[in-house]
């Protein structure tokens, strides 16, 4: 692996990790509908 490829790999890794972190913090993939399940008619 060349130095260039190594640096690119590290950079991409940081980007993906950051994106995953932000997505997690923002709950981007949370289904809001689940929050209302407890209110469903019983």
């Amino acid at each position: 692996m060349s130095k260039k490829q190594f640096v690119l790999g590290v950079f991409l890794g940081l980007v993906v990790t950051s994106a995953a972190y932000v997505a997690n913090r923002l709950d981007l993939f949370h289904d809001d509908a689940k929050d209302y399940e407890e209110f469903e008619g019983r």
Binding site: R25, A33, D35, Y36, E38, F39, G41
Partner: protein, 563 residues
């Protein structure tokens, strides 16, 4: 599932619930009965004489009952108040034939867009550029932490006040951002950081344009005529029973072995006109939908020559809420909201004049045409416990007329003092002790300080005083109670666990995501209650937009923090 409902409280939340029961669940309106002190809650608006005999006012007669009174008024935001707008699209406007209440406000707002150009004013500086938020890196970091805190971590802010959250960063309270934020939304430093987080999430789009209030939408008239009356008329047409002058005072709950089944079997109430005690049985087919708190409970009025007295009543709705919590552990803690007036009280005033002299002066000084602006006047000397400058008072100059019966020569202006125990700058007493005349003198003084001239408003003071029909101070001990510092468990869920027939609605309930004091959350709580008892899936609720998960919005908000 139920087929009938008793509504305790006839404010927006329960009226919304009734509309959804009728329209979505196809209930018969005749099967819905309201018991309440009045038919407006915090959305009042009328000639003063229509309110002087109401429950909270009749023991404090006024010497001057002229003019108009609206204790407060909500600014709307179509972008996020989706449940409110859905509700208003279902009822007819009472002032604009052929329009729904939603179309009415859309039509008015399109012709009178909000663009505030004098959001903040200060003596010696005049109009301040609110676009410069004044945040430093510490401020930005703490705000970012709030924005990046997901819903599931909200409990980290249990019992954390705004003052505590920013305790190592008092600079926050010296920023234009804070001055605008606190006066736009009526947050106090003792208010809940958990609620501040919810606001930062739900209003993140408006954060990017906060100084001009571009996202603010308004109703054509006051909230009673533009929002409550359409609902009242619709529900009465549908056969609902709205029984006023009733203070519900106690519950009968079903006795169960483990005492954790919440089933209401009866209600005791007082007829406030006759003093008679009444009792209503609740059968197995009936849901009880209860608005468990009101920010205008225990409010009192003054007049031009009389300050508003203090009424120490805990509050009708809150008292009943407290009674319920004496039976069950999972119904929240009303004392967090109604036993700390220092955290929640403020005073407003409604000023009616017989000509446009004052209005013209305000227009000249603020360079803002009447309607759709909020102006806040900053002190020039430290006035807070931290020794900082803060907002003295704020005013809203409505588009005129603000009431349908208002004559063309009359004007109505509203204002408020967020910290009523602070002393006036021109009248040397606390705002809470001021008459309407003294509050107007404070306003003239604040305007005089920022007046660009050449003829200062002081030269017109006599003419302004002569023009006054009335100025009504209103003391509201619980005006910001819904923002009081809280833990997540301090508010009952809309449908508490183990409840078979009781739901909680309004601004003192726990529901996902929603911020309060907006009418939006009140409507949604009513909607949830209606769907629950009608067996309608929650997937039918109005979709909630999540701008706090929209990357372009978040990037604009980030950019705004550096302005």
């Amino acid at each position: 599932m139920k087929t009938k409902a008793i509504m305790i409280g006839a404010g927006l939340a329960n009226m919304a619930s009734a509309v959804y029961l009728i329209q979505e669940a196809h209930w018969n309106g005749d099967n819905i009965t309201f018991y309440s002190l009045d038919d407006h809650g915090s959305n009042d608006g009328s000639v003063t004489t229509d309110q002087t005999d109401e429950y909270w006012n009749k023991n404090h007669p006024l010497s001057n009952t002229k003019g108009y009174l609206a204790r407060g008024g909500r600014m709307l935001n179509y972008r996020t108040y989706v449940d409110l707008m859905d509700l208003l699209s279902r009822v007819q406007s009472v002032t604009e034939p052929g329009m729904t209440a939603a179309e009415d406000t859309y039509d008015f707002d399109a012709k009178h867009r909000t663009y505030d150009i004098a959001r903040l004013l200060q003596g010696g500086k005049g109009i301040i550029d609110g676009g410069k938020m004044g945040l430093n890196n510490e401020d930005r970091l703490l705000l970012t932490k709030l924005i990046m805190m997901p819903d599931r971590e909200e409990t980290k802010l249990d019992n954390v006040s705004i003052a505590e959250y920013f305790k190592d960063d008092p600079h926050m309270f010296q920023t234009n951002f804070w001055y605008m934020w606190e006066t736009t939304f009526a947050f106090r430093t003792k208010s809940s950081a958990q609620e501040l987080r919810r606001y930062m999430h739900q209003m993140i789009y408006e954060f990017t344009q906060i100084e001009h209030l571009v996202g603010v939408n308004r109703t054509r008239y006051n909230q009673y005529e533009s929002i409550m009356m359409p609902l009242i008329n619709y529900l009465k047409d549908q056969g609902c029973h709205i029984i006023l002058n009733r203070r519900v005072t106690d519950w009968d709950f079903k006795d169960t072995t483990m005492q954790d089944e919440i089933t209401v079997t009866g209600l005791t109430m007082t007829n406030t006109e006759t003093g008679a005690e009444e009792h209503v049985d609740v059968d197995d087919d009936t849901a009880v939908i209860f608005t468990n708190g009101s920010i205008t409970d225990s409010a009192t009025l003054g007049d031009f020559d009389t300050p508003a007295p203090e009424n120490m009543d805990y509050g009708a709705a809150a008292s009943l809420w407290k009674k319920a919590t004496e039976h069950f552990y999972n119904l929240g803690n009303p004392d967090k909201f109604f036993a700390d007036r220092d955290a929640s009280e403020w005073v407003s005033f409604t000023l009616t004049t017989k000509n446009h002299v004052l209005l013209n002066e305000i227009t000249r000084i603020t360079t803002q045409q009447p309607g759709n602006a909020l102006n806040s006047f900053l002190s020039t000397t430290p006035i807070t416990p931290l020794g900082q400058v803060d907002v003295n008072m704020s005013i809203v100059v409505h588009h005129q007329p603000h009431f349908t019966t208002q004559k063309p020569n009359e004007t109505v202006i509203w204002g408020y003092f967020l910290y009523p125990r602070r002393r006036g700058e021109f009248v040397q007493k606390p705002y809470i002790e001021m008459t309407g005349k003294e509050m107007l003198q404070e306003l003239i003084g604040q305007l005089a300080k920022v007046d660009p001239g050449p003829v200062n408003i002081r030269e017109h003071e006599d003419a302004i005083m002569d023009s006054v029909v009335n100025c009504i101070p209103v003391y509201m001990p619980y005006a910001s109670a819904l923002f009081n510092n809280r833990a997540k468990a301090d508010r009952p869920k809309v449908i508490p666990a183990h409840s078979t027939n009781l739901a909680f609605t309004g601004e003192f309930v726990e529901q996902p995501y929603q911020m309060i004091f907006t009418e939006q959350s009140a409507v949604r709580s009513g909607e949830i209650a209606a769907y629950h008892f009608a067996g309608i899936p929650m997937s039918h609720l109005v979709d909630t937009p999540r701008y706090d998960k929209d990357l372009p919005t978040l990037m604009r908000a980030t950019k705004k923090m550096f302005s």
